[in-house]
Symmetry: C2
Subunit: 287 residues, 2 copies
């Protein structure tokens, strides 16, 4: 089984049983959790764990946890009181299928499931690393991290924000849990502080590159392949890296950030091929 197949299987296995009164909720969780996506965050957890000499099976609960957090954030993000998006990854968004109330609760339940999953396989031996990883994920996905980034995004809607606010927003909204994924993989393998710091640098660089590439694709991509409307940033009068800096400068930044991500892997003694490939493929992606 490939790494991605293992992740898909584990995500399904961690979903609660749907033989219950609240089966509609479980179905909504499954709908969004198995809707595809690149599974970048779980791959990062597993690859950094392997790179630091850990066993990827031990890190699978954390890999699934970060994807559950990411998924809940998308479900809530699409709600009418937020971005009011009817489509996600080419399919109707969660609330269009299940209604706003269930979609809200689906997000809440996915966040809880993330922390239940993260702690699903604890032993006296791994508990300290698991608890540190949980603390890391909870910190990066909350008010100081992902949710904080959402708020900055909301409060700057329709405003001509400068590059500093855009960077602060993205480093929290998108970057924080990508960074957390990298750090958690190392933590679970009992890596050194230096290794954790290098993983964080890698995560920061690819996180920002990812966001800039998103802005580039919003103007250049093929709508069918992207799975969402092209040009939505312009329509929403959003400041993006492209509107602030232009396409050429943005492409240069993506290349430069990808290079510095790859450079930060030099700290590690193990085989960094997979992570290097991942950074390069994200920079080249067209959807």
């Amino acid at each position: 089984m490939s790494l991605n197949e293992k992740i898909e299987k584990a995500l399904r296995d961690y979903l609660p049983d749907n033989d219950c009164l609240e089966k509609n909720l479980i179905s909504s969780m499954e709908y969004s959790l198995t809707a595809g996506g690149k599974r970048i965050r779980p791959v990062l957890v597993l690859e950094f764990c392997r790179l630091c000499g850990g066993n990827i099976d031990d890190a699978m609960p954390l890999a699934c946890a970060v994807e559950m957090i990411h998924t809940y954030s998308l479900v809530h993000d699409d709600l009418p009181c937020m971005d009011n998006d009817d489509f996600r990854r080419g399919k109707p968004s969660n609330h269009k299928v299940y209604g706003e109330d269930i979609a809200l609760l689906c997000g809440d339940a996915l966040q809880a499931l993330a922390f239940k999953t993260a702690t699903s396989n604890i032993t006296p031996d791994n508990a300290y690393n698991v608890a540190r990883a949980v603390n890391n994920l909870a910190a990066y996905c909350g008010a100081d991290g992902m949710v904080g980034g959402q708020v900055i995004d909301l409060e700057n809607e329709g405003k001509a924000s400068g590059i500093e606010i855009l960077k602060e927003m993205d480093s929290k909204k998108t970057g924080a849990i990508i960074k957390s994924a990298c750090e958690m993989g190392c933590i679970m393998a009992g890596a050194s502080d230096e290794e954790i710091a290098s993983a964080a640098e890698f995560g920061e660089s690819i996180g920002l590159a990812f966001q800039i590439q998103d802005d580039i694709l919003d103007v250049t991509a093929d709508q069918g392949r992207l799975g969402k409307p092209v040009g939505s940033d312009k329509e929403n009068e959003k400041s993006t890296y492209v509107t602030l800096l232009g396409l050429d400068k943005c492409r240069e930044m993506v290349a430069c950030l990808t290079e510095s991500a790859i450079n930060s892997l030099s700290t590690f003694k193990g085989d960094v091929t997979a992570l290097k490939q991942l950074a390069l493929s994200l920079a080249k992606r067209d959807y």
Copy 2:
């Protein structure tokens, strides 16, 4: 400092710093987290920890975590797509002050803060108990527990539900995290499985008694003292213990459940006075 004063202080101390771009979010979190409430769940964590020979300071992060979960559930519960309540504890509800988008994110951030707080003071020595407690809380507050109960509630709105559905709903919606609070206190003190099971029984009994008392107060209470409109269940055509069984039978059940809660404390060797008092005071409460 009394136990409740310690809890209030700790809750404030765990809030993120508001010197940031997302200060509106932090302010909304503070608004709901410090809006009063009886702090029953944190008291249960601390009292069960003390009863099982643990140090209450070690259980404070978990005590605050369960209150953060409870608070986030109230913020989301009040949203227009849910119960659409304008008031909570006599004050405008979170979304009436901060808007729906911030209130949604406030709930999300409070849930994350719960798990960050729960794991904020880990050491190699306490990590196994902390991780077990986190798993307990996450399981009870998610799809199989609190959120699942919310869904059962939503899907039975305006329907004449029978007593079995009502019990299933309440045991999840209200009962689950009360039970979790009791169990977590024991887990943190390294209690035996027998003690944890007795704490769970205590939690189940007072949880159900609490809900029945709520239904009684919805028909009998003084609106100013209750802090929310009286008679709202009838207006919403909700099946309640009172509509299904009548006031007298409900009062009898509260007394009976309180007695069985107190009986389940006989497993413990320590001083159960505080928990006994708590059970009795909940049964007698008029708000």
